[in-house]
């Protein structure tokens, strides 16, 4: 079994090294490339590379995201002396082994497809990035074997200094994985934002390696992907736990996977709240690099994409909150908060509606005439950033309130100032909402450049409120009486399907954003440097893209289901025992 898990990793690594050998400056580069493009049967070369890249990326995101919270969970287990977190971390890591194999296989598939279908582009990129590709391959091996040591040494190095060394392995696993991602990110971001002095006439041999590597969008993508990987990893772990919950045969098993699903969802939604800020940073850097590219992304032929994105994020917020609200049914004392959920639902739905309102659209003359202008007469007022920023900040605040009520549900504070503290929390919420709404309204009366600055105030208000309210809540909860242990495992089945919807939506959203990031290059392999002259040069419309994305998501989940099933045949996880411990 273990050997069977290892061979695809080795195969992927060997494949990559072989490819690099074939196309190294001493190999293929020295030869004449007789053709720019190859053919792929039925679906065409673009769709073939698209699918391989997207599925590889989904697995890669999973194997980069999960180690981050596995190592955090292990730390909580070590320093908080709570063994259930250690067991949870181990089960997270067990999922990694099989996912790692799939990542390597799809990476090799992608590499072979690029070499055979886009040989000239591949040669161009290797001429610039060959040294980093060798480092990538080396780190890939280091990462793989660190993972094996981390997982298989879990029980052997379980106590004292050995445990700390084991935790150190987890940290190294993250370090290696992050560097691997950063290297690969440099290749794709170079295609988006090559240095200004690189022109179509610049020989790739003359391109300075570091300026190509650390290009304008490299760090924004690194940050955005790191956070997104945590979100994605949390969502997939949540879906895995949901499936295990639904098929559990004992109460103990059900309790364990209920808790695991809760943790996965908490991580996913928690990191999701931070993600828009990284997205703003990336968007700003794209505009800085090329305003034309930025316009294409936000106001050009891709403008409708943002409406779909808003719809998807709306689904995420609603499904995440729904899961929390249903979960309150298994917490004694939570019934006192149940009446508030309907109001929170109204706020969330209203927020989604505002966020999904189109702003500037490419419209035909007939459509402009029908609307009576370039903005819709009624909806135009909601389609501007003032309204959208206000809506999304209120949605984040509402989701945090859901989490807070969930957290508070079975606690009965004993500190004397509990009532005052709760009142302060309420005042903070109201003041924060007031600030967000005030700047939202004020934004209509100022110029665009001032309005953009307002979004910073709104975001800072929300973040400050989240941290201060949480700090007060932790203090209030110190020594609190319990109204009863959380009844892990006593969760309606419908809540678990919400976790599946979350996982599918996150995955689809990643595919959509991948299409946006790659698609804004339009008919350029490397923006304004290497032109795409293939029959697939035009970036396709969203309808076609959505079909490809759905196919990628199906392939991904099909493989995940298969490898988890195979993994489950050979090895049973050690359950955390939350059912008997009544953990929170």
């Amino acid at each position: 079994m273990n050997g069977a898990r290892r061979w695809p990793v080795c195969l992927g690594g060997i494949g990559l090294v072989t490819l690099l050998t074939l196309v190294s400056p001493d190999g293929l580069l020295a030869q004449e490339i007789s053709r720019s493009y190859g053919d792929f049967p039925l679906i065409g070369s673009r769709a073939a590379v698209w699918i391989a890249a997207q599925v590889h990326l989904l697995f890669a995101a999973f194997v980069l995201g999960v180690p981050m919270f596995a190592v955090v969970a292990e730390a909580i287990g070590i320093f908080g002396k709570d063994r259930k977190y250690d067991k949870l971390a181990k089960e997270f890591t067990r999922l990694l082994l099989v996912a790692y194999s799939a990542t390597a296989i799809w990476g090799a598939v992608l590499s072979f497809l690029l070499v055979t279908l886009y040989p000239r582009l591949w040669v161009y990129l290797t001429q610039i990035f060959a040294p980093s590709m060798w480092v990538y391959a080396g780190l890939f091996f280091l990462e793989s074997f660190t993972l094996y040591l981390y997982y298989y040494g879990w029980d052997r190095w379980a106590e004292g200094r050995a445990k700390m060394m084991h935790w150190g392995l987890g940290i190294m696993l993250n370090v290696f994985g992050t560097i691997v991602m950063f290297i690969a990110n440099s290749w794709l971001t170079f295609m988006m934002s090559p240095p200004a002095d690189v022109t179509p006439d610049t020989s790739p041999d003359m391109v300075q390696f570091w300026s190509a590597f650390a290009n304008a969008t490299w760090m924004p993508i690194n940050i955005h992907r790191m956070i997104a990987n945590v979100v994605f990893g949390g969502a997939i772990v949540g879906a895995y736990a949901a499936y295990r919950f639904l098929t559990a045969e004992t109460d103990e098993e059900r309790a364990h996977y209920d808790w695991m699903g809760y943790v996965g969802n908490l991580i996913a939604i928690g990191a999701l709240i931070v993600l828009p800020f990284a997205g703003y940073y990336l968007g700003r850097e794209i505009y800085e690099f090329s305003p034309g590219m930025g316009q294409t992304l936000m106001g050009g032929f891709m403008s409708w994409l943002w409406i779909i994105q808003a719809f998807l994020i709306g689904v995420l917020f609603l499904a995440g909150n729904y899961y929390l609200w249903v979960g309150m049914g298994r917490i004694p004392g939570a019934e006192r908060f149940t009446p508030y959920t309907k109001y929170m639902l109204v706020v969330l739905v209203a927020g989604v509606i505002v966020w999904a309102t189109p702003h500037t659209m490419i419209a035909s003359r007939a459509e402009i005439a029908a609307m009576g202008g370039t903005y819709h007469p009624f909806l135009g007022v909601l389609g501007v950033m003032s309204a959208k920023n206000t809506a999304v900040n209120i949605m984040i605040l509402t989701t945090f309130l859901s989490f807070l009520l969930y957290r508070r549900a079975n606690k009965e504070p004993v500190v004397e100032w509990a009532k005052t503290g709760t009142m302060i929390q309420g005042v903070l919420f109201v003041v924060c909402a007031g600030i967000v709404i005030f700047y939202g309204i004020y934004g209509y009366f100022v110029t665009a450049i001032v309005r953009i600055g307002f979004s910073v105030y709104q975001v800072l208000a929300v973040i400050a409120t989240i941290f201060s309210v949480l700090a007060i809540d932790i203090a209030i909860g110190r020594g609190a009486k319990s109204r009863g242990a959380i009844r892990w495992g006593q969760m309606p089945e419908r809540s678990q399907y919400a976790l599946f919807i979350l996982a599918v939506t996150f995955t689809w959203l990643m595919g959509l954003m991948g299409y946006a990031r790659s698609g804004i290059r339009q008919h350029w392999h490397v923006w304004e440097v290497v032109r795409d002259t293939s029959e697939f040069a035009a970036t396709p419309a969203l309808g076609y893209a959505s079909q490809i994305i759905s196919v990628c998501v199906l392939i991904f989940f099909g493989l995940v289901a298969f490898i988890f099933w195979v993994g489950g045949l050979a090895e049973k996880p050690v359950l955390s025992g939350v059912g008997s411990e009544g953990g929170d």
């Binding site: 022109t199 032929f301 035009a538 893209a545 998501v553």
Partner: protein
């Protein structure tokens, strides 16, 4: 177990189906790859204008910003009372004629930034060929002005003899496109059908010219041409800002009356 599997599969497939259907139901826009253009020395203005218009509205991506007038000056209609681009281009920079100004604005846009806008436009010569740039210039000139781009401009640019501000000065300047009093010629030269429908051609931004004489009096039509903001036709109030307010200066009295008479007769 299998019942659970089927339920999970249904949830996954259902979610994917909803996302795919919603994404396929919205307007489907794809990027357009610019066509390579090649013109002979005796290329006509009509050919250049047609190629430029295709580029402007499609692969060039110009209309994304220059079509609405919110992110960049509106090139399809009047801009703050200064007239159509083919008219206002000649008076933008002292000593630079329309053709030279338009070309230079394309290849060095930040040096020609219009007040009130931010420098977001890229040097178009990075992505467009000389032929494509000149076709765009021709199209923009055609919006209210006289097209003076010729094959010689493209050839001289191609041979590296001349660029931007060094473009040969045009004899044409801003103002009426010709002295003709043929109403159809005048309306064509001033791009009236960019916003008005007539005999099946044009776009429904402003009131249709079909049957206009039966709906509006000659005085009202005349006033609407000279001072469009004085009273927009019903249903077109929000769009009136797109109508140039400069025809009073551009058209001679004879030309104005020819148009008024022509439209009044269209009952």
């Amino acid at each position: 177990m299998w019942q659970t599997n089927l339920k999970v599969l249904a949830v996954v497939l259902g979610t994917l189906a909803v996302f795919t259907i919603v994404s396929s139901s919205i307007p489907q826009l794809q990027s357009v790859v610019p066509e390579d253009l090649s013109f002979s020395g005796d290329v006509t203005a009509e050919v250049l204008v047609a190629a430029g218009q295709t580029l402007f509205e499609g692969a060039g991506g110009c209309a994304d910003c220059h079509g609405s007038g919110t992110r960049a000056p509106n090139l399809l209609a009047d801009e703050a009372g200064t007239g159509l681009i083919g008219v206002r281009c000649a008076s933008r920079v002292a000593g630079q004629d329309c053709k030279a100004y338009l070309y230079a604005s394309l290849v060095d846009p930040n040096a020609y930034l219009v007040e009130g806008y931010v420098p977001i436009m890229a040097d178009m010569s990075r992505t467009l060929s000389s032929e494509q740039l000149w076709a765009l210039v021709a199209y923009l000139q055609s919006l209210g002005g006289e097209v003076t781009v010729t094959g010689a401009d493209i050839e001289s640019e191609g041979s590296g003899e001349s660029t931007g501000a060094a473009v040969p000065a045009s004899a044409a300047a801003a103002g009426p496109t010709s002295t003709s009093t043929d109403p159809v010629e005048i309306m064509t030269a001033n791009a009236c059908l960019a916003c008005h429908i007539m005999d099946g051609a044009g776009a429904p931004i402003g009131p249709s010219f079909d049957g206009i004489g039966g709906r509006l009096s000659a005085d009202y039509i005349r006033e609407s041409i000279l001072d469009p903001r004085a009273g927009a036709s019903e249903g077109f109030g929000a769009l009136i800002q797109l109508m140039p307010a400069t025809f009073g200066e551009q058209l001679s009295a004879a030309q104005l009356e020819a148009i008024v008479q022509f439209l009044t007769d269209r009952r």
